[in-house]
C-alpha cells in the first residue's frame, strides 16, 4: 500500500468534515499486456459524491485504469470494490457504473431520445417511466429540442451532452468520464468544464474524470490522482498538489516551477548562489519554487526569512495579467519569475523569495 491513501485521509480530516463514505476502493491493481506493464500496484479510494480526476500524460495508464473500473479490461492483479461488492468479478453490464466515452460512442442508428432510453429499455423499465426519465435527462442537459435527431445531425458539444444524459439517466453510483472534453474547441471546453462540475454537484454522483489537461483537472476536481508510467505519483486536492507537490514530477506537471537541486549541510541548504536555513538532515535535497512566489525585491523589504539574489534578465514574456521572466543568477542557474506586468524591459534585477515557499520534493514517489 502506498502512502497515497493516507494523504487523502488527512486531507479529509483537516478540512474539518467527518470522513466521507468510501464508494469505490481500488486495491493493489496492476495490469500488463504481455511484457508491457501498464499499471503497477494502484491503490485508491473514491468517496461518495467526490469528483476525482485521474491526471496523466498519454501512456500513463489512466484510460486503462478507467477501463478496469468499467469492466472492459480485467486487472492482472488486485481488486476493485464498490461498498461490500467485489466489482472486478462482475461483467460490465452488471456494474452500477456508467461511462462517458472519449468519442461519445452514441448509437448512430438510434435517435437522441432512443440513445438516452437505451439503458432503461434493456433493463425492461415500464414505458411510462422511460419516457419521463428520458425527457427529464434531456432537459437537464438542455437537449430536449434535439430528441428526435440522429446523432450525426448534431454538433460535437451536443453529442457530448447526450452521452452525459445517456449515462446519468440510469442513476449510476459512479460515472466514469474518459477525456470527454478533448474533442471540443477551447471555448466550449471551458464552458463544459463549469457545466459538468455544477451538474456533478447537483446529481451528487461520484465522478472519475480522466484527462491529460492539468488545467482542466485543477478547475474541476475535488481531488487529483496524478498517474505517471502506471504509478500514482500523488493524490491530493488541487490546492495541495499545487502548493505542496510531493515529487519533482508533480511540481512540473501541474503548473510552472523552478526545481532547485541543493546540498544540505549543518542546517543550511546551498543551491548555486542561493542559500537558506532548513531543518533537514545533511545530504542532497530537491526543492520546487513556483515562479509567482519569487518577487522583484523592493528596497524597503529586507525582512528576515527572505532569500535574495541578483541576476540578469535573459527573457521576458508578456502573458496579459502577468509576465514571465527568466533570470540568470550566476553558476548557470536560472529562475523563472512571474511578476505583475512590469511595464517595461528589465535588465539587472534583485529577486527575493520566502524560504518556506521552497517546497522539498522527492525525485520519485515514496513507497512503504
Amino acid at each position: 500500500m502506498s502512502s497515497i491513501t493516507t494523504a487523502a485521509n488527512t486531507d479529509a480530516k483537516s478540512s474539518g468534515q467527518t470522513a466521507p463514505l468510501t464508494l469505490l476502493s481500488i486495491r493493489n491493481v496492476a495490469k500488463q499486456f504481455g511484457k508491457n506493464i501498464v499499471l503497477r500496484d494502484i491503490s485508491l479510494d473514491v468517496a461518495q459524491g467526490e469528483f476525482l480526476t485521474i491526471l496523466g500524460e498519454s501512456g500513463s495508464g489512466k484510460t486503462t485504469l478507467l477501463r478496469i473500473i468499467a469492466g472492459f479490461e480485467t486487472a492482472s492483479a488486485g481488486e476493485v470494490w464498490m461498498g461490500e461488492e467485489r466489482l472486478d468479478l462482475q461483467p460490465p453490464y452488471r456494474r452500477r457504473v456508467n461511462t462517458v466515452f472519449q468519442h461519445y460512442a452514441l448509437f448512430p442508428h438510434l435517435t437522441v431520445e432512443q440513445n438516452v432510453a437505451y439503458g432503461l429499455r434493456v433493463a425492461n423499465r415500464p414505458e411510462a417511466e422511460i419516457a419521463s426519465r428520458v425527457s427529464e435527462a434531456l432537459e437537464k442537459v438542455k437537449m430536449s429540442v434535439h430528441a428526435k435527431s440522429k446523432p450525426s445531425k448534431i454538433s460535437g458539444g451536443q453529442q457530448q451532452r447526450i452521452a452525459l444524459a445517456r449515462a446519468l439517466v440510469n442513476r449510476p453510483r459512479l460515472l466514469l468520464l474518459d477525456e470527454p472534453l478533448s474533442a471540443l474547441d477551447a471555448n466550449l471546453r471551458r464552458q463544459m468544464q463549469v457545466e459538468l462540475k455544477s451538474l456533478q454537484r447537483e446529481v451528487g454522483i461520484s465522478f472519475i474524470f480522466v484527462t491529460h489537461d492539468q488545467e482542466e483537472a485543477m478547475v474541476m476536481s475535488d481531488r487529483i490522482a496524478l498517474l505517471r508510467s502506471g504509478e500514482l505519483e500523488q493524490v491530493a486536492t488541487p490546492r495541495e498538489i499545487y502548493g505542496r507537490p510531493a515529487t519533482a514530477y508533480a511540481a512540473q506537471f501541474i503548473g510552472h516551477t523552478n526545481l532547485l537541486k541543493g546540498e544540505v549541510r549543518g542546517g543550511t541548504v546551498r543551491c548555486g548562489s542561493l542559500s537558506w536555513p532548513v531543518s533537514l538532515p545533511d545530504g542532497p535535497a530537491l526543492f520546487s519554487l513556483r515562479p509567482e512566489n519569487i518577487h522583484l525585491a523592493s528596497e524597503k523589504s529586507a525582512t528576515g526569512g527572505h532569500v535574495r539574489v541578483r541576476g540578469k534578465v535573459r527573457h521576458q514574456a508578456f502573458h496579459g495579467a502577468t509576465e514571465l521572466i527568466r533570470v540568470e543568477c550566476g553558476d548557470g542557474m536560472a529562475l523563472v519569475v512571474r511578476t505583475a506586468g512590469s511595464g517595461g524591459a528589465l535588465h539587472d534585477v534583485e529577486l527575493e523569495f520566502s524560504a518556506r515557499d521552497a517546497v522539498l520534493v522527492r525525485e520519485s514517489p515514496e513507497r512503504i
Partner: protein, 282 residues
C-alpha cells in the same frame, strides 16, 4: 485540380469499354428479343411481341423462372445462415487467429468452380461417399436417390459455392462497427445477447443486404450446377437460355428471357442499394 485533358484521358477508356462490351450487347439483346425466327431458320428483323407472349403462355418458361428464383432464395437464406455466424465469430471472437480463419474462407474461391461442383457429385451420387457411409452404418438399405440430380443437390452446391460471397460483405460490415459502441451497450447494462440484437445486427444490415444480393443474383443466373447436379427436376432458367441460344436455335426467345432476368436483377440491385443506404450511418 486536374486538367480537363487528364480527366478525359482517365474516364474515356472505361467509358469506351462499358459502351462496347456492355451497353451495345445489351441493346442488341434487347432488339433480338423483338425479332423472330423464320421456318428456314433465319432471323426475321421485324418487330413483334410474340417472344414475350410465348414466355407468359408456355408454362415451362415461367415455371422454370419461378423455380430458379425459389432455388436462389433458398441459397440466399442458407448462405446468410452460414455466413453471418461465421463472420460474427471471426470479427468478434477469433482474436489473433482472425487472419488464418479469413484465409480459410477465401481459399475455396481459388479452386475451380467445376472442381467444387464435381466434388459434390462424388459425395452425393448413388455410389458416392455419403450413400456408401449411410449404408455402411446401416442407416439405409438402398442408396438415397434424392441426394443427386435434384433441386436439393443444386441448392447444396450453390450454397457451398456462394457462402463466401455472402460472408465477405457481412464480415466487412461487422469489422466497421466501432468497438466502443459494443462497450457502450455493455456499459449501459445490455447483456451480450441484447447488444447483438440492438446494436450489432442493425449496424450490420448493409452487409447482410449486400451479401444476400450477391448470393441471390449469382445463384439465379447459375447454369453449371443444375447442368451437373440438377437432373431434370433441377433445371434452372439459365439452362433454358443456353439451349435456346444453342441447339434450339431461337435467339429471339433466349434474348427475351435474358432481358426479363436482367430486369429482375436490376430491380433487385436498385432495391438493395436503397436498403443499404437506409441502414448506413457513417
Amino acid at each position: 485540380m486536374f486538367s480537363r485533358a487528364y480527366k478525359a484521358a482517365v474516364t474515356l477508356p472505361p467509358l469506351l469499354w462499358v459502351t462496347a462490351f456492355l451497353l451495345i450487347p445489351y441493346l442488341l439483346m434487347f432488339c433480338y428479343s423483338f425479332w423472330s425466327v423464320s421456318a428456314s431458320q433465319t432471323i426475321v428483323h421485324s418487330w413483334t411481341l410474340a417472344n414475350y407472349g410465348q414466355l407468359l403462355r408456355v408454362s415451362v418458361y415461367w415455371q422454370t423462372l419461378l423455380r430458379s428464383m425459389w432455388i436462389a432464395a433458398r441459397v440466399t437464406i442458407f448462405s446468410l445462415l452460414l455466413g453471418y455466424p461465421l463472420a460474427y465469430f471471426l470479427s468478434f471472437y477469433a482474436g489473433k487467429k482472425k487472419d488464418l480463419f479469413y484465409q480459410l474462407v477465401i481459399i475455396p474461391l481459388w479452386v475451380s468452380y467445376l472442381v467444387r461442383a464435381y466434388a459434390w457429385k462424388t459425395i452425393l451420387g448413388s455410389d458416392g461417399v455419403l450413400n456408401t457411409l449411410l449404408q455402411y452404418v446401416h442407416l439405409t438399405k438402398h442408396p438415397l436417390e434424392f441426394l443427386l440430380y435434384s433441386p436439393f443437390a443444386v441448392v447444396l452446391t450453390l450454397t457451398h459455392i456462394y457462402t463466401p460471397f455472402a460472408f465477405l460483405p457481412i464480415y466487412a460490415a461487422l469489422e466497421h462497427i466501432p468497438r466502443n459502441l459494443v462497450e457502450a451497450s455493455h456499459d449501459l447494462g445490455a447483456t451480450p445477447g441484447q447488444t447483438f440484437w440492438k446494436v450489432i445486427l442493425p449496424l450490420s444490415i448493409p452487409g447482410v443486404v449486400a451479401g444476400a444480393t450477391f448470393a441471390f443474383v449469382l445463384s439465379l443466373g447459375d447454369f453449371l450446377a443444375p447442368l451437373l447436379l440438377g437432373g431434370p427436376s433441377g433445371i434452372m432458367i439459365s439452362n433454358i437460355v443456353v439451349s435456346l441460344f444453342g441447339a434450339a436455335y431461337n435467339w429471339p426467345l433466349g434474348a427475351a428471357i435474358s432481358f426479363c432476368m436482367l430486369l429482375l436483377v436490376v430491380t433487385l440491385l436498385v432495391f438493395s442499394e436503397r436498403l443499404e443506404k437506409k441502414w448506413s450511418f457513417s
